[in-house]
Subunit: 280 residues, 2 copies
Amino acid sequence: MPVAFNELLRKQWEKQRFLCVGLDTDYAKLPKGIRQTSIADAIFEFNRLIIEATADFCGAYKPNIAFYEGYGLEGLDALIRTNRYLREHYPDIPIILDAKRADIGSTNQGYVKMVEDVFLAHGITVHPYLGREALLPFLERPHLGVIVLCHTSNPGASEFQDLAVAGGEPLYRKVAEAVYREWNTQGNCGLVLGATYPEQLSEVRKAAPDLPFLIPGVGAQGGDLEQTVKNGLDEKGAGIIINASRSIIYASSGDDFAEAARNEAKKMDRAIKAVVQRLS
Amino acid sequence: MPVAFNELLRKQWEKQRFLCVGLDTDYAKLPKGIRQTSIADAIFEFNRLIIEATADFCGAYKPNIAFYEGYGLEGLDALIRTNRYLREHYPDIPIILDAKRADIGSTNQGYVKMVEDVFLAHGITVHPYLGREALLPFLERPHLGVIVLCHTSNPGASEFQDLAVAGGEPLYRKVAEAVYREWNTQGNCGLVLGATYPEQLSEVRKAAPDLPFLIPGVGAQGGDLEQTVKNGLDEKGAGIIINASRSIIYASSGDDFAEAARNEAKKMDRAIKAVVQRLS
């Protein structure tokens, strides 16, 4: 039996770990010292040092595959090695592959194999546009975390996501309700909600009281941490995976990047916990 | 200057070529004879033989990357080799990478590098959910075809796509209008419309009179070819890329797969042309 994403997550929350470190590792942005080797080696080595430095404060890792795909087979090889390293050394920390996939029906089986067998991740982010029926190959795997884009963190997120659908309800809430009421039969679903839209986050928490929320947009994108924790927490004082990528992994552009990442992760972990404990 | 997707497409339409062969190549489904080598070699060899057999009748090739990602680096290597082969031997036939990607802002730059530099494709399919602003890294590249999912071919497509938004208009039409009126400033956009929803196809043609339509869902998925051509054609008697995948590449499961694919592609090409000529 594979380890279930939601089970790992629950244990992290019991330890009061809510921080997710986004491994958005772009080779072109790496410190010069680490770029002396091959692309694959450099990316993997950077990730390994970031992971070792931040694991004490980290409830999940989230590599965004776009950064790796841009470097072709070398980039993807680095991601495979990164996730293999995580599974071996930190088997209790869930890996979310931020791949934002979604195709129709059986085609998604290729993506299921990709996330599970190739990249050894515990969960994946997906687009909702094609509907539940299209996503069944993901949804029917109880151990696989299926984290559906609901209200994203980007400035232009509202173009379609905030459109009022029948009954005056915005589309993103319709998505949240569908996932909560109909898609989550295996208890493996979650939602992506950008910290840059605190009201929508709060609304969706009411609509989906106990779904895990993956929340990007604090840190470099400017979402307010206290507000985010307050609006995202579920009734049990958990339910949130707060992601920071650039603000942690690029905390320093020098050779002290790992130490700087550790300090930044520690700071965020403490800040999140402080709010959680105040509210509990 | 890179070759523009829409320029290649226009030239194919001038030659009355409307058929797109979907290279949905699943290693597990390949004829035994071809599976004697490595996974990468087998997939590439199968694709090469399919391409050679069908190029005479083909206006575009569309590999769906999900099938390749499922086999990890070997699968992706086969796709790189396939597209390199296409660019070398059939430089006039556009390659659409059916990747259904979409992330926020700068993250999409990784996907742009992926589609252009790694996989050498001319166009890519994308999800609309994150909005125009998120997709600018794709939209701002005039030579890159950006084909936006509008109404997909799957049975459950209606869950969100048919929701009535403000004014009573369905979401998919809102997407079509946004792409037509606001996203297409570089003249590089297209829409995906499933042949399995002929009415929606016809409606969207009215809303977006001269956007290229990528139309999957004839063949194995059962969309009616005549209706599809009739509803999809633009005023110039062009504008359609009609995709068939399984019905062509798996026309025979034996060693005569290439010949069977050629016959099937020829038949479809003729059937499409017959309707186009009757309507012109």
